[in-house]
Symmetry: C2
């Protein structure tokens, strides 16, 4: 029997307990041993909860119990999760986490500590909720040189954009509705400003490079400026707008970005709607592969945490390979990145825009008082210079 | 250094050599040791080939060389691959294969022999080409009770159906063109009759159940009877037609089938076009997840074989868990399966059809001389009885 502790009995933590309980038979079989939850750490009491007797308030009880081999860290945030995780790993207990903030901030350090202590720090649930993506990168695409990862990594923003598209509604209205339904937080900044997706692409980028991509270095732009009119243009040119988190290597230079982008119907991410997430991985032999599913939610996320528990159970005392060195990757600034741009300008600037941007594809969208077009490929720097010269209304990157 | 042999220097085998050569750095790093190809078995000589000096004609040279730890079996077919694989595993050499025929026919026996001899029989490349699907089922979705798998598992038929849809062309014309382009074999039976997809869903179904699903027991229907007119109806009701390979467990009964089905735009498989493959997996916690990519082709398939080589290299002397018992699963006959059906009847049978099928959704497709509709949910047996009573032109299952 393998004794497990769950730290944090919130949404994901209670989901972990539920998954281990409901799928006991499958999980024990796949683990090769019985998995038993011995403790649940939380500051609160849970009178009447079926697992009430497992609740402990003192982390020392878990950290000092030599029987505990695996800990599920489902607290979130850096404090005290970082400290607890570090101490657990130092004492040879494996930790499985859904905490993307902690993984993005201290991933390589914690992985190293784990390996030095013959245990594992696994984080399948930190990106893409229940979609297997960390393990496919580490275990499956091992014959590939991966040179690009593009994902829809935040369910809240994808829900908002899908709804804006379907209903022709504006951002603020859909956000309010999403908050009422519980799909968006009361303080929605982490989602709508792209910070959540930024942590997640930092993790995926690090696994792609095998080195550390600091999330603070990633250019991040949210969806708050996207309007119903932008979707009118998107439709008129057979595209939609998605918040993409991207990372790519071109000629030895690494680029990473989170930003709303226009994508065409031929992009496999086009059909990823509502709260679904998906990650496209490009390898030099395989080309594109895509991983799609529920990127958030109690049970999908918990399922990913428990899949890590099974992996740890199969590897007690053994290190599971993970290539994520602490050496920081120097990202190339977004100014140097080249692409096309969708641009809206006031009607009176039409001839100026045509003159400055030279070759453009005009979008016939019949939006009164303005003119919309797609530029040729150019660097962000060049685009910004031209956009300033013309005086544009807004722009969205084309992917 | 880990010595590897490749058996069969055809399309996939030469791809394996190419992948190992081109991505040497990544592969050696991920394997934890240098991977070296020592022998390539083929009946032919390859004068001028850069690996000419590794070619051997006698399998004994490989089987009797204690240095060889891993063999890539890329010969295909049952003979002599079955015998060679068995002997290799009996001598403790791991085997990585792309041979779906052999895996579908003898999977559990070969896995058992491997485990008894502390080596591994891995077959990621046997389903979905380069798409990681076997490993996600075995390693990632370990916290799930998987109750349904639905896939587009054959690139040739998906290419043909996509082309028929796009061009309004008939099956025979598109097949001929696909053959000219090399997308379909000169003898296309294995693809167009669904036999290839049947082997693949047998493998996935076995992994879903943990027991053996015999491919011979799976109801298999190809795409040869699908016409341009069927796509006219599909479009008129917002659907398309795909060759689906399905497996599901309902109340402890297992169903499996390969057949063309009509699917709606909301199905994630709807957007899987051309030679792409995809597999949808339904788990009781995660809901649907999907794995998408190139399901065939030299390098994608080879990449999957080499990912198995890396996995074997990481586990020399150790058994990688795989749950596929030799006990056969008793599949429930297709007659008992319930679903809706799309039906075409001659115009003169309209009132008879409406009377016999009672509640139907009529499809307004303006096809002269006939009448198309979708039935309510009923068993296949009930449908067949009613269809015979009415005298229908054709039917396609709705998914």
């Amino acid at each position: 029997m393998i004794q497990v502790a769950v730290m944090g009995y919130g949404t994901v933590g209670s989901g972990v307990v539920e998954v281990i309980e409901k799928n006991k038979e499958e999980i024990n079989k796949k683990s090769g041993e019985e998995i038993n939850i011995k403790y649940i750490l939380d500051l609160r009491d849970f009178p009447g909860d079926p697992f009430e007797d497992k609740i402990v308030h003192d982390v020392e009880k878990i950290l000092n119990d030599p029987e505990i081999k695996i800990i599920c860290e489902t607290m979130g945030g850096l404090k005290p999760a970082y400290d607890f995780t570090k101490r657990a790993l130092l004492s040879g207990k494996s930790v499985c986490t859904s905490n993307k903030e902690l993984v993005a901030a201290h991933g390589p350090e914690l992985i190293n500590i784990a390996h030095d202590n013959k245990c594992n720090y696994l984080f399948e649930a930190s990106v893409g909720g229940g979609i297997p993506i960390i393990r496919p990168l580490n275990y499956s695409l091992t014959a590939e040189k991966i040179d690009a990862i593009t994902g829809i990594l935040n369910g809240t923003t994808n829900y908002i954009l899908s709804k804006m598209e379907k209903e022709g509604a504006d951002f603020e209205d859909v956000l309010k509705e999403a908050q009422e339904k519980g799909y968006a937080e009361r303080n929605p900044e982490a989602d709508v400003e792209g910070y959540d997706a930024c942590r997640k692409i930092a993790i995926l980028s690090s696994l792609m490079c095998g080195k550390n991509v600091k999330y603070e270095d990633i250019y991040t732009e949210g969806i708050t400026k996207i309007t119903a009119t932008d979707f009118v243009y998107a439709h008129a040119c057979g595209r939609t707008i998605k918040l993409l988190a991207q990372s790519k290597e071109v000629d030895g230079r690494f680029y990473a970005m989170v930003a709303p982008c226009m994508i065409s119907t031929s992009n496999p991410l086009y059909m990823v709607n509502d709260v679904f997430n998906a990650v496209c991985v490009h390898g030099n032999m395989l080309g594109d592969s895509m991983y799609y599913g529920r990127g958030a939610g109690k049970l999908p996320t918990a399922s990913a945490v428990v899949s890590d528990v099974v992996d740890c159970a199969r590897h007690i005392g053994k290190v599971i390979m993970c290539f994520w060195d602490s050496e920081d990757v120097a990202l190339t600034g977004i100014d140097e990145a080249s692409r096309r741009f969708f641009v809206r300008v006031p009607l009176e600037q039409e001839s100026k825009a045509l003159q400055v941007f030279e070759s453009v594809s005009v979008i016939e969208a019949n939006v009164p008082g303005e003119f919309g077009f797609i530029t040729d490929v150019m660097t962000e720097k060049e685009f910004n210079r031209k956009a300033e010269e013309v005086g544009i209304i807004s722009r969205i990157r084309i992917e």
